[in-house]
């Protein structure tokens, strides 16, 4: 153990230099770093949201709602198609996870199969000999749909967040149907939550003007919707709206907030298909009302004064400047295929983040100095060496964190401080051993050799067991806790390296300098 080969020496020095190089960017300003060429390390530590300030949102995509919607669509199809084919049925409805119905005549079974086949896509239709029918979604179809709905939702979430001008958002899938959104620098996510809180499915429908809402019963093929507009009395106005979609929001290509007669409005433009449909629908319904429906709410229901042929139009309603802007943004970004729910939110303001960094820096530096002093006091010259190793250890941790671009969080800083305290353990073990060997009458060189040799197994076992705890913390923890596990693990590895290799190099150099004639300075 008192021999260090040239190769080992090179390796140790190489690691130290690399550590320094990767840690160095943390001392430079952002502007200086940007000027550095790519081939030298130019990344400072990647700070977590709890230190730099920002928001973390965990969203859940309501995929089950999509399935329910799909099934109730089948109910409508069955009703319409069987009626059109003059096939009698009873008991049509939703039962658990399937659509059920029974045919009146067993003779119609084959015909019903043929009629319905085209309308159910990849769902499974079964009609038994008694004429009892069911339509179910297969597990494969559901799984496929789940993936595509979540994927699509992520895309729309990304577009909406990009539209708000948030810089460097991270949007990723988590688990089966969750989306993790991280927004550095956004300490008030209220607006973004609002934007993500609506699916923004827009469609244009004709208003059923023969029916008085709230008085007459709503005929099949129409439904009663509330409006964002208010009656004079304050209650929301209601409209009976035809289910058939004139044009859907999918055909929109652009939407912008603007003003009309001093009122905020949203102007929009259809693609060619949308423009054609809208043109036809407006031409044949001049003088009637059409409703602009967003997420089952009528924004407004203007009169069609003349055919709208250019594919451009304006949505007016009770908008504020902000809500007109938001609606335009939502329409541009597209509709979400499913509803999103915020399951978890954590936001940290820039003030707290900066305070935490400052507190962490002070605590680490003071902790470092105190432990260095203590080690020097307890072990003399060798203690000073261990203290230097501790400083090197801190630089290495910083270097590894920056090099790997691992995220440093507040608990992560705590992990570093804890490591500062624990890192000297390996050196303490070695030094205590050396003292013992000296007491047992060994000479300096032999005592040092035995000290390192004997302490090694305890050092490795002790660190591996702690490493086990760190790895499990990483696997089960989230966000900040992972940051703690990462710095703890990195600290364990670097502290083993500095204790076993770096201090040994110092001790051996000291031995070679020939100063070990008398008692060891320990």
């Amino acid at each position: 153990m008192v021999q260090i080969s040239r190769l080992q020496l090179l390796a140790i020095v190489g690691v130290l230099l690399a550590g320094l190089a990767f840690a160095a960017p943390n001392l430079l300003s952002r502007a200086t770093l940007d000027r550095l060429p790519d081939w030298i390390p130019n990344q400072p530590v990647n700070l977590g949201l709890d230190l730099r300030g920002g928001s973390y949102l965990l969203l859940e995509v309501d995929v089950d709602g999509v399935f329910e919607e799909q099934l109730s669509g089948f109910v409508d199809s069955v009703r319409v198609e069987l009626r059109r084919a003059r096939i009698g049925y009873t008991g049509l409805g939703l039962d658990d996870e399937s659509v059920v119905f029974s045919l009146r005549e067993q003779a119609d079974i084959e015909r019903a199969r043929e009629v319905l086949r085209d309308y159910i896509g990849d769902a499974v239709l079964r009609i038994d000999e008694q004429g009892r029918g069911s339509i179910t979604l297969t597990d494969e179809a559901k799984a496929e749909r789940r993936v595509s709905v979540v994927q699509q939702s992520i895309e729309i979430v990304r577009r909406r967040i990009d539209e708000t001008g948030t810089r460097e958002p991270t949007i990723q899938r988590q688990g089966e149907d969750r989306i993790l959104v991280q927004l550095p620098g956004v300490d008030d996510p209220e607006r973004i939550k609002e934007l993500l809180g609506q699916t923004a499915r827009m469609s244009f429908h004709l208003v059923d003007e023969d029916v008085v809402p709230g008085v007459d019963s709503v005929p099949p093929g129409s439904r009663l919707l509330q409006s964002q507009e208010r009656e004079v009395a304050g209650a929301p106005r209601e409209y009976v709206v035809r289910n058939r979609v004139m044009v859907s929001g999918d055909n929109l290509v652009d939407a912008q907030p603007t003003f009309q007669d001093g009122q905020p409005v949203v102007s929009f433009r259809f693609d060619s298909i949308g423009a054609q449909r809208f043109g036809e629908a407006t031409r044949s319904n001049v003088g009637r009302l059409f409703a602009i429906v967003l997420d089952d709410q009528v924004i407004s229901a203007p009169v069609i004064r003349e055919p709208i042929l250019g594919g451009r139009g304006i949505i007016s309603g009770s908008f504020t400047t902000q809500s007109a802007q938001d609606l335009a943004l939502l329409l541009r970004a597209g509709a979400l295929p499913a509803e999103l729910t915020v399951l978890e939110e954590r936001s940290v303001g820039p003030g707290l983040g900066a305070d935490s960094i400052a507190a962490g820096e002070t605590a680490s530096l003071l902790g470092l100095v105190l432990v260095m002093l203590f080690m020097s006091a307890a072990y003399g010259l060798f203690g000073v060496m261990a203290a230097c190793a501790l400083l090197i250890n801190l630089i290495l941790i910083l270097g590894v964190l920056s090099g790997l671009q691992a995220t440093l969080t507040l608990p992560g800083i705590a992990g570093i401080v804890l490591t500062i305290g624990m890192a000297v353990d390996a050196n303490v073990l070695i030094f205590e051993r050396i003292r013992e060997e000296v007491r047992n009458g060994r000479g300096p060189v032999s005592a040092i050799d035995m000290g390192y040799r004997q302490a090694l197994s305890a050092i490795i076992d002790a660190n591996v067991t702690t490493l086990i705890a760190a790895v499990l913390l990483y696997n089960f923890g989230t966000g900040p806790i992972r940051g703690f596990a990462v710095t703890l693990a990195i600290g364990l590895v670097t502290s083993m390296f500095t204790a076993i290799m770096v201090t040994r190099l110092m001790v051996v150099s000291w031995l070679r300098a020939g100063r070990a004639k008398k008692a060891l300075p320990i």
Binding site: G360, L366, L410, V428, A458, A462, P480
Partner: protein, 319 residues
Amino acid sequence: MALIRLLPAEPKVPFLALRRWFLVFAMVLMTGSIATFLTQGLNFGVDFRGGILIEIRTHQPADIEELRGRLGGLGLGEVTLQEFGAPTDVLINVQRQDGDEAAQMAAISTVRAELGELVEEYRRTEFVGPRVGEELRRAGMLATILSLLGIAVYIWFRFEWHFALAALLALVHDVIATVGFFSVLQIEFNLATLAAVLTIAGYSINDTVVVFDRVRETVRKYKKKAMPEILNEALNATLSRTILTSVTTLIALVTLYVLGGEVIRGFTAGLIWGVVIGTFSTIGIAVPLLYYLGLRRSSLAPAEEEQKGATPAAASGGG
């Protein structure tokens, strides 16, 4: 050369003679912890209980009583307020709302609307939905149990089943005593404090392994000494190291406790307690348990014999 000496060069503390007292103390500590946990439980933070936590900084020093009245009148159920490190900083805890996640979101907006212009900065907003809270609780339990078992298995491979079992029991003691610590002081128990518990397990085992390593060595060194004497010698031989490492770790942690800010103070308090309790459990529990579990010299035969599997105990212990 050294300026300070904490201990005589070769301490002779009769630890093993005190083993009954240690175990009695440990039993009292654990019983007390469990009793407190059962009677007053843990002060779960939003992470595990679900709910809303908002930390604000106000322009003027905050009038907590007045704020409490205002926020309490919003119909959001239990709202607790506390000053958080400075007169202008207030921590607001809102209980989990009935209903789904949307109801929780609405509660955040209600609180914000009520606070209005009073607030200079929203320093922190944390909301954890009931489902996520439940998941985090489960994952936390699992992480704790798995890390204890993982550590025990590693020790079993490296040492002997006696050591693994003794270490596991000492760790269980540490975890229970730490949970008791959080329960008695009603310090908020959140994800970070759970991390503290796991770190304590890591620290404590670190300490235990060092002593075990020495026990193994000492057993192999003496052919005739009685086991209690051997264990005592191993403890004394490592005592200086045990104390030094605890002291350096405590120095770092106390610095962090004082200067690290309010957010991680509970976490650091847990770690400080853990270092003390982890050091105790090595000396007072893990090593005496080796004696009670009937560690024999034959099961720790020298390495060469062990590899051949010459002794039955070594073979069965997987050593």
